[in-house]
Structures are given as structure tokens and as C-alpha cells.
Amino acid sequence: MIPIISLELARTLRNPAIWLIVTLLQCAFAWYSLSALEAYLELQPRLALSDNAPGLSTWLMGRYTLPATFACMLAVPVLCMQKFAGDRQNGALNCLLMAPVSSLKIALGKLCAVACVLAGISALSALNVLALRAVAPIDTVALLYAHACQWLYLLACAGIGLACSALCRSAQSAAFSSAAALLMLWLLSQGGATSGINWLAELSIATHLSRALAGVLHTGDLVYFVAVIAVSTAVVTRALENARVFGERT
């Protein structure tokens, strides 16, 4: 699996589109963090008068990490679309399918490579708020925990993105279908809240993220994220097996 991760990382880092996405995300992170700080400074005189007022760290976890994670989620379909669908279009997927490597290893290798890129993006996101430590007291552990949850959430999104990529014939349709699937899973929480159907909200990926970002990791949330990743990996593996049995049509 290591050769596949290494190969995929090498290919990803040579893709100019990835660097453009990271640059845009960094701009978004900077904007969100400074906006959250500004809003906190405006409210601070009033917050100081109330009991149990949120500290800067708690404030940033709600006002910065959630929108930053949403921005990252929008980038996931673009990160994942090339992995199978794009490779299928340009014929590069055959390199892996012809190699003496199992389909599960290919699926996990690609997922791990995307996980490494997402870890870098989460680290970048964390650095934006941790930089504020120079001027304000910040709970480093709480923010690192929030970003670990963000990474886990993005990994689940990447699983869905890779599954769409493995099932689609073109990179564009993979990107659109995974973006649609992720937005639908995000909006399910709104639908569940307005209709009062709890199980609908529980299916939403945003519900589990919000709970995780609140500072408490429920076992149910962890199981949800791991289940999404496992099911997506199974779908990818199955799609690759089908490609090996019925041939890869480019």
C-alpha cells in the first residue's frame, strides 16, 4: 500500500490545481479567523459582564472551525475527482489495475493519500488560529482536538468523494455528484431540525461535526465517521473489482 500512497502523493503534489485550491483555502481561513477575532473583540465588553462567557478558544471553535470545515468540504470533490474518474479518463487507472495489487489496497492507498493532503489542509487551518497565541491566550489542546475532528470529518467526505469518483466515468461528473452528495448530507440536519425527525438529523454529516466541534466526542459520532469511510471504501473496492472483471472502458 505504501507504493500507492507514495505514487498518489507524488502525483497530487505535482498538480497545480491542488496548489491553487490550497491557496484559496488559506485565503478563506485567514478571512474566517480574522472575522471571528474581530467579532469577538466587538462583543468582548458585553461578554465580560456575563457569567460563563465563552473564551476566545470556544468562540473560535464555533465561529472559525465550522465555516473553515465547510470550505474544506467544498474542496474535497475537486481533490477526489481525479483519483479514479480522472485516471479512468486519461487511462492512468490501468497502471494500478494491471499491477499485482488487490483492489482493497488500491482503494485504501488512494484514501490514505487523500488523508495526507487533508491532514496538511487541517494543519494549515489550525495554524491560522494558533498564530493568535502570540496576542491572546488560546487553549491549544481544544483547538487541536477541534481540528482532529475536522480532519476525521473531511476524511469521511473524502470517502464519499472517492466512491463517487470510482463510480463515475468522467472527472466532472464525479466532482458534481460528490458535491451534491456532501451538500445533501450537510443539509439533512436542517431538514431534520425543521421537520422534527431526529433520525434524519442523525444521518446528517453536519450534526456529527457540530457535536464533535463542541468539544465532546461521542462514540456515536466516531462510529458514524468510521462507518461512512468503511462503506465508501467497500464501494470503491467493488467498483475496482468490477473494472477488473468487465474491463475498464475509457
Partner: protein, 319 residues
């Protein structure tokens, strides 16, 4: 690194059949290749050459039949069998973002070669495929001919027992085609090779066995007589070719050409039975200024007995 068992034939195919719905893509194919065999698979577009190679490469599961590669069943132990197969698809499957050497190193590591062995293997195939000068170039910037060479280098990296080449001379100039034939002859000492092409002339330069496919059926096998290195027959079998020229000709003019056994006028050309190298025939026509427009082999006499009605002819030797 893959080392086939010494007494096991590199490739044994038994009753290989592939259905897609009602259509039969490959029918009842039987084949046994030994190390040193270079089988040319010729056939028209859509005859099933690429599909057959995909089946043999484990890139497509057969509906029936067995494929054994260096003693490993391709269906039951696909990973072990694939480790002994080098496959150059058409078009070659490459990572365009990477440089040639990085791409080859990545493929070597997928085949389980360690760092030092991988570096050695990459250096070997770069030299063998004359890619040393292009090693540091990005694959996306390479010409089609160079991409074919990278594809061939990729197929040879792990020293496979079976080498499958699908239309390998596509996009190669004449010099490169000669070099390609030389490379195939060099590597065939250590493996069995199958080359598919719809150009008979491409295959004759390097093959010692020939088979033709029509609608997925292996219907003819004849010894290649134009490869001097491998020619074991004292005389040459006459073959039938179809030619079209710009100039109006008569039978006498054609029969004056050296090697022509007979010539018959067809609707828009000539059917010639010829004993010798077709390259020499085309050169002789060119020297006479007749303006050669087409010279193609006629593998099957229209309506000849056995051409279509005969089921697949097994290339597997009788027990």
C-alpha cells in the same frame, strides 16, 4: 522480480471464451507459449485482438476457460499471475504528471521491487528502450513514439514471463519500428511474447509464430517466413497480397516481377500470389513508378474452405 518456474510454460490458455451479453467476443481460444516464442496476432479492426490480450493480461475476466501464467491461474490467483505479466495496452497507460524515471520507479515499487532493485531495473529498461535521454522529461511532454517506448519499458520492468503488446508500433517512425523489433527479439530470449497488430509487416520483423483472429476466433496459424533470424524453413511459402496502384497495369507486367507466382485482376486492384518479402515487392513496384496505393496481405481467401466455418484452430500442441 519475477522468476517463473523453469519447467512450466509461461503461458497456457485453455478454451478461453468471453461473452458480452449474447455476443461472443473471444471464442474457444487455446494457446501454449514457451519462452522464446513471439506470437504475432493479426486481424482486422474489431476482430478481438485487444480483448484477447486484455483477457490474457487479467484485465478482463473470461466467461469460460483458463489462463495459466507461469503456473499461476489468472482467475484463482490473479495477483500472482499478474506479477509475471508485462502488458502494454493501446494507448499506453501512463502517469502524465510524472517524469519518466519517477513513473518507472513507481511502477517498479508496485511490482514489489525494493529501492536498489528498482533503480537497477529502471536503468536497465531505460537503456533497453532507448529512453535514457528522456528519463528526466515529464511524460505529458513526450511524443507518441516516446510514450510507446515508456509503455514498453513499464511492461519490461519486472522481467515478466509473458509480455503482451497491443499495437506497440502505433505512432512509431520506421527507425523506431526497427528498434522496437530489435528490442522484442532481445527480450524474447527470457519470456514469451504476444504482439497484436493489424499490420502484418510490423509483426514479421520480430515474430516466429503467427495467428490470425477473426470475430474473436483464432482461425489460422502460419509460420512467419520473413524474420531471417528465426526463419527455419529453407523455402518461402507463397502468400497472397492485394495491391492497388495508380498506373493501369496488365498481368504480364506484374508477372515479370521477381517472386510473383500469379496475378489476378480484382475489381479495384490486383490479387497477387507472391513468394518473398512484401517489402521487396513494394520496392519493385515503386522502382517502376507505378505509384503503389495499397499493399495488404489477404490472409483468407474469400469463400475458402475453413476460413469461417472452421472453429478455432488450437495452437496448443496435440498431446
Amino acid at each position: 522480480m519475477t522468476t517463473p518456474q523453469t519447467d512450466t510454460p509461461p503461458l497456457v490458455v485453455r478454451q478461453l471464451t468471453l461473452h458480452r451479453g449474447q455476443a461472443v467476443i473471444v471464442a474457444d481460444l487455446a494457446l501454449r507459449l514457451q519462452t522464446g516464442d513471439v506470437l504475432g496476432l493479426v486481424g482486422a479492426n474489431g476482430a478481438g485482438k485487444s480483448t484477447t490480450l486484455q483477457c490474457l493480461a487479467g484485465h478482463l475476466s473470461p466467461s469460460e476457460g483458463e489462463v495459466w501464467v507461469a503456473g499461476h491461474n489468472l482467475v484463482d490467483a490473479p495477483a500472482s499471475a499478474r506479477a509475471h505479466i508485462g502488458y502494454l495496452p493501446d494507448p499506453p497507460s501512463l502517469h502524465n504528471e510524472l517524469r519518466v524515471s519517477r513513473h518507472l520507479r513507481a511502477i517498479a515499487s508496485l511490482h514489489g521491487l525494493k529501492r536498489a532493485a528498482s533503480d537497477d531495473a529502471v536503468a536497465r529498461v531505460l537503456e533497453l528502450c532507448r529512453l535514457t535521454d528522456a528519463a528526466s522529461k515529464r511524460i505529458a511532454h513526450l511524443s507518441q513514439g516516446y510514450r510507446q517506448r515508456v509503455g514498453l519499458a513499464q511492461a519490461l520492468l519486472h522481467q515478466p514471463a509473458v509480455l503482451l503488446l497491443d499495437e506497440p508500433t502505433n505512432g512509431l517512425d520506421l527507425d523506431s519500428q526497427d528498434q522496437f523489433a530489435e528490442t522484442v527479439r532481445a527480450v524474447s530470449a527470457h519470456c514469451a511474447v504476444i504482439i497484436s497488430s493489424h499490420h502484418l509487416s510490423d509483426l514479421r520483423a520480430c515474430c516466429n509464430r503467427m495467428a490470425s483472429l477473426t470475430a474473436g476466433r483464432l482461425i489460422e496459424q502460419h509460420n512467419n517466413t520473413l524474420n531471417p533470424r528465426r526463419d527455419t524453413h529453407a523455402g518461402r511459402e507463397p502468400e497472397t497480397v492485394f495491391i492497388r496502384v495508380h498506373q493501369p497495369l496488365d498481368v504480364d507486367a506484374l508477372q515479370c516481377l521477381r517472386g510473383v507466382v500469379s496475378a489476378t485482376a480484382e475489381r479495384d486492384g490486383w490479387k497477387i500470389t507472391y513468394r518473398g518479402d512484401t517489402a521487396e515487392l513494394s520496392q519493385a513496384i515503386a522502382e517502376r513508378g507505378w505509384g503503389l496505393r495499397q499493399l495488404s496481405p489477404m490472409l483468407f481467401e474469400p469463400g475458402a474452405a475453413g476460413a469461417k466455418s472452421t472453429p478455432s484452430v488450437s495452437l496448443e500442441p496435440a498431446p
